[in-house]
Each structure stands twice: as C-alpha cells, then as structure tokens.
Symmetry: C2
C-alpha cells in the first residue's frame, strides 16, 4: 500500500498549527516526542503545550494554571489564550495530545477565555476483528469491508518501514478523535492468533510500539481454551489451580514485554467459542480468572455479553434471542471483579439498523459495563452504502432507561466501563473502503469522548477537517450525503425494527426469509395476516418485561410502542395503523419507495460536485453510489413483492410508482 | 488413499470366472493384456474369449462363429456355451472386454444357447467436473460430494504407483458397466486447466494411458478462449483464419500425443464462460470450428446446450429459462458438422429431481444429440441422501416425445450422439462418498449401454455383485433402500415439479425463497393464493408450445397435465384439485410428511442389518441416514410452514401429525 488518503487529517488541516512557534513542556517519552514531531518548536513561542508541573517555565502556562481547575484528570486538558499565545495545559502527555487535536478542530478561545475538556470515560476502545491470515470463509478481516488488515499479513505482524509508517498514521487518526485502546485481533480467536499470547507475543510488541506514541494501549483477544491450546494443560477450568497459575505466569510475561498492555478481550461460550460453561462454571467465574491475572498489572478484561443459543429451533416461539444476555448475566451482577468490564452490544440482537437499547445495560448496577457499537457496517450496507451511524449511536447513548425523570443515560451507565466499537478500517486506500465511512470512525471517537455531542456537529467537524479548502457546495453535499443516510438505509431495508431479512452468511442485500427457518434466533414471523415478533409480557416472550418502567409498559402495548420498533415487540396485522396514520403494509410500501428515491437523489447530488471534488475521493464514492442504488432497488422490490404476495394488499400508491413486480 | 472399497467388483464376484481355465484369442495390445491379466489362462480351456478372425484356432470358438450373426459391431459380443466351454465372441477387444464383464453379471447361456449384446450407442461418456486444484468456492470437484479428484492433485495429474493403481481400478469399474469415454476436467475451465490442451498435455497423456486398457477414451474440456489464453492471438473468433489454424495445429499435437483421443467438451456462452457470441457468431459456427480441427483425427465436439440468461430480472415473467436452449438452438438444426454432438441436459432447467423432458431433444432431427444426466447428486441430496436415479433416467429415456403412436423414444433420439453423465466419483473410500451412491454410477453405465433395461433389474444386478456372499436380508434391505428412494426424495423437497427451493450456491437443504428474487431464472411464484409457473401457450411463457403434439396440448391444460409436473407448467390456487383427488396444499402437507416418514423408515431398516453387514459400508451408510433424516425433517417443516403461512390453509391431518411449527 503505497498511497492512501489522509482522511480527516490532510496537510492543509495542520497548516495553521504548524505555522506557529511551539513550546512543549513535558516529561519526555514517546507521546512528548510525538508532540514535538507534529509541531515546529521555535523561540518566542505562541503555542505552549505544558504539563502542570512544568508550567512554571512559561508565563502563559503559569497564567493558564491560575485559570484552570486544580485537576484536569488523566486525559483532560484546558485550552487558554493569553494575548497571542495559546496554551494547552494538562496533567499528562495524553492530555496535551488531545489538546493539540482540539486545536485542529476549533479555534482557540478568545483572549482570557478557557476551554475545558475531559473524556466521559477512560476506556475508548476500537476492536479489530482482524485475522492473522486470510480465513477461508471470513476473509482476513471478519466483517471487514476495507481491504486487508492494517496489522497482519500472512500470519505475521506487518513491520516493513512502509507498513509501520502507515500504522503510525493510523495511530494519529485514532488519537485525533480520542480513541485510546485497540484490540488487535479477532474476538473469534483462531489457532494461529491464540499464539499471540505466548510464543508470538513479539508481534503484539511491534504493534504496541507503533501505537504507544499516540497514547493507544493494545488489548488482545484471547481464547478461553488457551491453557489447553498453548499451555498443554488438560483443562481450562477457571477454578483449577494450575489454570490460574498458567494465566498468572502468562500475563506476567505479557507485561514484561508490554508494560502498558491494556488487557484481554474475550468472547466466551458464544457462537461456538470455548468458555467456562464447558467446566460447569459461570461467566463471572470465567472472567474473574483472567481478571485476577491482570489486576496486579492494571489490566482489564473485556468480557463480551454476546451470549445466546445459536442452535435454536425456529419452531419454538418461546425462546427469544433478545432475552438471552439479560437472562444470562443479570444473576451475576455483583460477582465480577473490579477489573472486569462486561462488554454489551447496544441492542439485544446484533447491530441491526434499528434495535431497542439492550435492557441488560440498565440491569447491572454493580458491574462495570462497556457499550459496544459496530463501526464496520456489517448490517448497514458494508461500506458500499452511505450510512452515517452517529445519529443511531447518539440515540442509544442518550437513552434514559429509567425514564425521563431519571437523569441517567446509557452513556452514564457505561462511563465506568467505557466504549468499544468494531473497527471499520483496513488497508484500503481510504482506510474504510468507502471514503464517506471515515465519518463513522471519527464520530465514534468523538462520541466516546463526549457522548453528549450532537452528531450533526461532529459531522460538521469531520466535513470541515476532511475538506479544508473545498467550496461550500462540496461541504454541504458531503454533509447532506451523510446526515440522513442512516434513516434512508433503515427505510429501504427490514421494516419497523424487525431486523435481518439479509442474505445469510455475508449479510449483504435482501433475503426476507434468509434467516426465517434457521437456528439463529432472528425471525420476522411474517404470515399472510401479519408480521413481527411478539415479545410482550402477556402473549409473547416476555422480553419487554426486562426493561424498567416506563419502558416496559410502553413497549408492551402496540398503542404506545414507538412505530420504529413496532415489529420488534409486536406481531400485528398488516392493516394495523401506526402512530403515523399509515397501515403497516402501506408503511412498508411507502418507506421502501422513499428510501430508494432518497438513495437515488443522493447519488444525483454527488454527481453534481464531480467538477468541484476531483480525484479518487469523488470517483470511489460515485462508484459506490451506483452499487447502493442498485442494492436499494433490490431491497425495495424484493421486500415490497414479498409483502404484497403474502398480504395480498396492493400498494395504494402502486399506480404512481414504477412497477416493482410481485 | 491406501484402501478403498471394491464397489461392485469385490474379489468374490470374480471367483467363479477366475477359477476357470481361460484362453484369449486376440490381437494383442492394451485391452488384450487386460483380459489376460484378469483371467487365468490354462490348457484345456473352458472359457474362450475370441476375436472372430482368430476363432479358427478353437473348436468352441468356431462353433460360436457359426451360431452368431455375421457382424457383432465394434463393441458388441456374443456369449455361447458349448458343452462345458463358454465362448465370448467379438469383432474387437472392446467387445471381448464387455463380454467378460457380462459373465460377471450373469451365468452363461445353457449349452447350445447364445446371448447377444450390442450397445445402444457408441458414446457412453462420463464427465468429471474436476478442477486441477482446490477451487476457493467450488472445492476440487465442482458439485462433487465424494472427496477430491481421482485424476488431479494440487495442479498435476496423479501419477504415484498407488494413484495409478487406483486409476486402473477405476477404469475397471467404468468398463464393467459399459462406460467408454471420460472427460477429465471441469466444463468450467479455469486458467490452469486451460493449459492441459497445450503445454500441460503430458498430464492428459498420463490419464489416457491409465484408462486405455479399459477401452476408455479421454476427452478434454477446453476453453473457447484458448486461442487468446494460450495462443496469444488477439481473438478467438471462429471465423478468423489464424484461429482456425491455431485449433488445427493444437489438435494435431494432441493426437500426436494421444492417438485415440476422444475430443473436446465445451461449455460456451454459458454462465459466464467465453464463447462465439463474443464475436457475433452463433453456436454452430462456434462448434464447427473445433469440429473441423478434430474431424481428420476422428474426434468429436460435445457442445453443451446449457445456455440461458443467468442475469434475468425476476420481475419479468415473460422470460423463461426453460425455453432458452430450444430458442437458442433449434434455428441452428442442420448447421452443425457431422462430428458435433449437441449435449443436452435431460430437462429444460438443471437436473432437478423432477422436470419434464427437454423439448430440445425432439426438435433437432438433423443434429447429433447427446443426453446429459447428472450422476452427482447436486440437487438430489448430495450423496448424503439415498437417491437411486435410474428410475428417473429410465422415465426420461423411455419418453416418447411424439406420442405413444410413434415408437421413437428419447433414447433413440440420442443414439447417434450418445449419453453423458456428470460423474459422482472422487477419491473417497467408497468412490461416491455414500456407499449406496455407487448404484447410480453402475446404473448410468448400464442404461447408456441399454436404455431399455428395467432400473429394478439393474439394481438387482448391482446389489448382487456388490454383496456376493451376503444374507438375503442384506440384499433385500439394500434393494428396498434404493428402489423408491428417488420418489421419497421428491416427496420431501420442492413439490409437484416446481423445482429448486434449495439453499443458494451450494444447493443443499431447503430455502423456499432462496432463488425466488434472484437473476437465475428459477422461480416458484408462490403468493397467498397459489403457486407454480405459468408456462402455457395462452397465458404463460409459451414453453409448453415447444413440445410436439400430444404433449403440447396435454401440458398446456391443468386438467391433463400430469400431477407431478403441474407446478412446472401451471400457476394454480392452493385449492386446485389434483388427479389424485387431493388439493395442492394438502398434497404438499401429505407428501412432505410421507417422504420424511419414508426416510425414517429406511433408516430403521438399515439399522436392523447392522449385525449382518459389518464394517464401514454399514457404518458409513448409517451415519448418512442420520443426516438424511435430519435434512428431510428440515425440508418437511420448512416447506409446510412456508405454505401454511402463505396460504392460511391448515393441514387437514395436522392434529394427527407432529407439530411442524408455523
């Protein structure tokens, strides 16, 4: 990979900052070196980056200390202005780094002003589902749509000068939006990747060394069966003393090699991965084993809550995958060690374009929780479709599970455990395959830093950074391409929160019944009278009862359930009338026509700026719009034909619309 | 592969023959050597294999000549008995070889008696869809369910002594049932296989040498783009003089290396393969190019008629894949050279468990036709399910396309071009994966030799040969396992001839809508009122008009169309009453319950002979029965739930049946 896009950090974005005379007052070390490398130091500085305990050596920095709070926190910073001098003040190099990127995004405050920033949470992690080699079925990056891995090539860590330079640039991108932790391998840990924990640790060291200058700690996905696979033990039982000793020894060796190692990410007893259940132990016993090994070194376990029966009988309507994580984990609240973080997907199923918030997030008050989102667009167009996910994440993070009278949001519940996102990056020239998908990576970092940010504001930031010198029409077109794109995507895919209807295995494109008669627990239950999954407490699976009031009641009745989640919670007749006034069947016809028309319109607008945004960025996006429109039409026609055939109710507006076939 | 099953030629089957004192009166050469090798020659012979022109040296042979017709044909033979001496008389070594195997199957005639045999057709070919290496998506053998290739290993022809011994044994099996030609590579010719024609010809020589002693000629699948791919020419246009010259030169080189080379098998302008259409030429021009190169050497072109639009718009109900081959090829009748054989699949779609006979077979009176069947069970259970295909093939071969008053059968129409079957063999220990699938290979050879044979008789032959010393209960169980297995399979899969409803790509297991909204042209058009494809002349695609009378009329009306093909030709309401008296919907419910119960019963019966048929043959079959029953239930439940949900009509007998879910 010789050339690649600068994403939201093109040279022009740095221009103003690098034109200044900088002074860095830090302790030294890799991050301080980074700061020095990004700026031009000079005499009579007008840009000072100062640690509090070095502030004495600069008048402006001293002034900043007087103005700032007594403690900015381990990653926080203050930006102040004193005459012509801008100061970034922090307690640590990490804070200085984030302060530097702050200045890329926004002008300094006016003279005498101050801007304070502290991250909402200390753990802002990106999970790479990267395999070390190309997997015969899943490719190199599982659910990856952006080329091969940035880290791995044919079984080994990439380490040519060129590759390390790209890793360096990747670290800059991540740090610039606030990401400070990275899992470097797939949570489905295949044989070769299991060895990273022991005899292949040097590969992890390579990556840790490359990312350390950007304040990014490296985490590792480990196999729960590692003591058997790697240690030659007869068991991986978490209560067996030799298993505990093995993990302790192994973890010590990891920290000897990487002293700021982040910890382990674990998918256990899930979709075929090994776990404590094999030994009659529960998830708390399972996670605490690893936690005990990591605790002396300050590491954490991210234990994924994505546990369900993936061999379900589709005939059995009482089993409900949506219930699974809650049923499995709530009895274990209070039993997890302090350095265990339960990593919970934001919805109860699996990163669908529309799901309710996972009730597990409101049901583990004594457990540290991390909220997991998916930047890679597995179910949201696979980076062939434009789908800006920040509005969805923002809805989730701002959701108040205990009702509007209780201030706690989902983001608050996740503050102690932080955030995790499945990465959407790879070694494609545009990092994310689709140039516009870069916005999702950026927005994830920004929302992890501050979940209260308005997604539109984040989008404006990103657009501005990415297209520094571009004409207004380019920026407004880019913003409008992304702004409503998630709702557009939602419109032309599975209706009203019912989810899936994707092609099995690869999850791209429509196949209404693709998962309907499978063991995966993802059904729509459409018949000739109606559609949707009855998850109510009275006649259904009882899932809605997993929510606190008022949501439990509200979701339990089709009369109060929000339209966009109706079919997630209820099986209703096609003639059921939504709050919108439309029937369910007419809603299906209308939204699919609308969503498709919106995709076509977005393509048209993009074509209009061809002369203003020359080069690959326009061409690549334009060609993906062709695919998006093709696929959106396929969705529209297949969904509408399917429901027309099944319901027998014609589209009221069929005559005015193009023939979709039946 | 060190050990493998003897299939229908175990040592015991040879016992009687090898106990005799044989005399072989032949010209010498590889087949004569084979005969000598299989028998024990001795003085005072009581088994004489004699070419007519050597008959003078044996009294018994002389007597046979007096009794036999003047010409037995190139592969025919007579078996006669003179006192204690059995004579096989033939015009060629090939005839002697087939006569020898005749004596394995049946006792010699009584003293003074004669048994005459001539093959129905001279071309009895087996097509191996073998790739040279493992294909990333298709595996090594495309649509192969019997392990890797017998011919190819990692890009090269197998040629270790062990591998050549197995190839030798394979040749014996093929010759013993009458097969005399083999295509050694996939009709989808990938890059590496294209080179077999030129710089990799030595690999083909290896295989030809191994099979020649069994009277089997080798054919090669070639890429129509070979002149470009291999010859460096700018075009493969069949009318370009340098293209003609290239094929001529190349073909001469092939015959220099393999003087009995059979010819080329070609899939052109089909499913993405290159062909004459790219140059604005038709299939006759395309095929005649190769024919001209082969003619001087006595070779033939097998040109596949499997041509259709595989990028069809599913919304467009006027396009009909079933029509495609007829529409494409009938205008070209009379235009093909004498050594072109149009190879036509027996049904108009693609080897479904039930299709009408291809109307193309009755519409090319001036073209040599080969009838292609599929021994590999792509759509008939992939050698996990027992499915004896001979009854289906027999129905096809005995079909009288011009009506019962016209004696010509499909087998007759194919006599000049012969038969082709897609092989079901590989390097699995049982050759065919499933031990019982060996019966399909055997039956194909036997029916290609004599299409009038009763499939039950062939089955009895095969059962007897395969289990020479077994108790009666074993033989009756084996026969009953196979006998009705095709109809059982038909019952629990797609109903009433509508076809498909299989999982996309791999074609195993049910997915009712799997191909419904795809470009592949394989639809069922089920809606809430009815199901089936209207292929009538009045309101449908007109396909039924491609048949001669009386079939055209008969298929055109649901009142006269045979039940088993009803949904192939008609879209009817679920309440349509069949000739059987049942409604379509009740037929679906009933047959799926029945088919599944039959599979369960077959499994039970098989279990009962465990003590009588020890070893792998029983175990392997038993374990495949587990999978068959599991899969049959999946079919039953999914199909029945699908149609219940869609039609809203309950199963009249639902109460007495186990719950299938809805």
């Amino acid at each position: 990979m010789n050339t690649y896009d600068p994403a939201w950090l093109p040279d022009e974005a740095w221009h103003a900052l690098r034109g200044r005379r900088a002074l860095v007052l830090a302790d030294g070390g890799p991050i301080a070196d980074t700061l020095g490398g990004e700026l031009h130091e000079g005499s009579d500085p007008d840009l000072v980056l100062a640690l509090r305990h070095h502030a004495d050596t600069s008048d402006a920095a001293r002034a900043a200390v007087r103005r700032a709070p007594a403690d900015l926190g381990p990653e926080g910073y203050a930006v102040t202005t004193h005459g012509h001098t801008t100061v970034v003040l922090a307690e640590s190099e990490h804070g200085l780094l984030y302060g530097l990127f702050d200045l890329l995004r926004a002008d300094p405050p006016a003279d005498g002003g101050i801007r304070l920033e502290r991250p909402h949470t200390a753990l802002r992690k990106l999970d790479h589902w990267d395999n070390l080699s190309v997997h015969p079925r899943m490719g190199q990056v599982e659910r990856g749509y952006a080329g091969g891995s940035l880290f791995w090539d044919d079984g080994r860590a990439r380490n040519t000068p060129e590759e390390l330079r790209r890793l360096h640039d990747y670290g800059r991108l991540l740090a610039s939006c606030g990401i400070n932790a990275i899992t470097v391998n797939n949570v489905n840990v295949h044989e070769d990747a299991a060895h990273l924990l022991t005899d292949r640790l040097d590969d992890v060291v390579t990556i840790a060394d490359a990312l350390r200058p950007w304040g990014i700690r490296v985490h590792l996905s480990v196999s729960y069966a590692a003591p058997v696979l790697l240690g030659g033990l007869p068991t991986a039982d978490p209560l067996a003393p030799d298993v505990r000793a093995w993990w302790q020894r192994t973890t010590e060796a990891v920290y000897e090699a990487i002293d700021d190692f982040g910890g382990y990410t674990v998918k256990a007893d899930s979709e075929g991965q090994p776990g404590p259940h094999s030994y009659g132990r529960d998830h708390a016993q399972g996670a605490n084993l690893l936690a005990a090994a990591l605790a002396p070194h300050g590491g954490v376990v991210h234990w994924r809550a994505f546990v369900y029966d993936h061999r379900q009988d589709w005939r059995d309507r009482s089993t409900d995958r949506a219930r699974a994580a809650y049923d499995e984990f709530t009895p274990l609240d209070e039993q997890f060690d302090a350095n265990v973080i339960l990593q919970v997907k934001h919805g109860p199923i699996d990163f669908q374009p529309r799901e309710p918030v996972s009730p597990l997030l409101a049901a583990m008050p004594r457990t540290r929780l991390a909220i997991e989102v998916q930047a890679t667009q597995e179910y949201t167009g696979q980076q062939q479709h434009v789908c800006y996910l920040a509005p969805m994440w923002s809805e989730v993070l701002g959701f108040r599970p205990y009702g509007e009278d209780d201030a706690r949001t989902i983001a608050d519940l996740g503050a102690s455990g932080g955030f995790a996102a499945v990465a959407n990056t790879g070694n494609s020239p545009f990092w994310c395959g689709h140039p516009l998908a870069q916005a999702n990576l950026y927005a994830y970092g920004r929302l992890a830093w501050n979940p209260a940010l308005d997604p539109d504001t984040v989008l404006a930031e990103w657009t501005h950074l990415t297209h520094p010198g571009a004409p207004d029409l380019v920026r407004t077109t880019v913003r409008s391409a992304l702004e409503g794109s998630w709702r557009t995507y939602e419109k032309y895919t599975a209706p009203l929160g019912v989810g899936f209807m994707v092609r099995p295995h690869h999850h791209y494109g429509p196949d209404v019944d693709g998962y309907e008669y499978t063991p995966w627990g993802t059904y729509h239950h459409a018949d000739r009278d109606g559609v949707g999954v009855d998850r109510t407490t009275v006649t259904g699976t009882g899932y809605s009862g997993q929510y606190p009031e008022p949501w439990s009641d509200l979701y339990d009745s089709p009369g109060t359930c929000p339209d966009e989640l109706l079919l997630f919670f209820h099986h209703v007749p096609y003639t059921h009338r939504l709050h919108s006034g439309r029937t369910v069947i007419q809603h299906i016809y209308d939204t699919h026509a609308e969503g498709c028309a919106e995709a076509e319109e977005a393509r048209r607008r993009w074509q209009r700026i061809a002369h203003l945004l020359p080069g690959e960025r326009h061409r690549e996006t334009a060609s993906r719009y062709e695919e998006q429109v093709r696929c959106a039409r396929e969705w529209r026609d297949q969904i509408n034909a399917y429901f027309h055939r099944k319901s027998g109710i014609p589209d009221e507006r069929g005559a005015e619309r193009r023939e979709c076939g039946t």
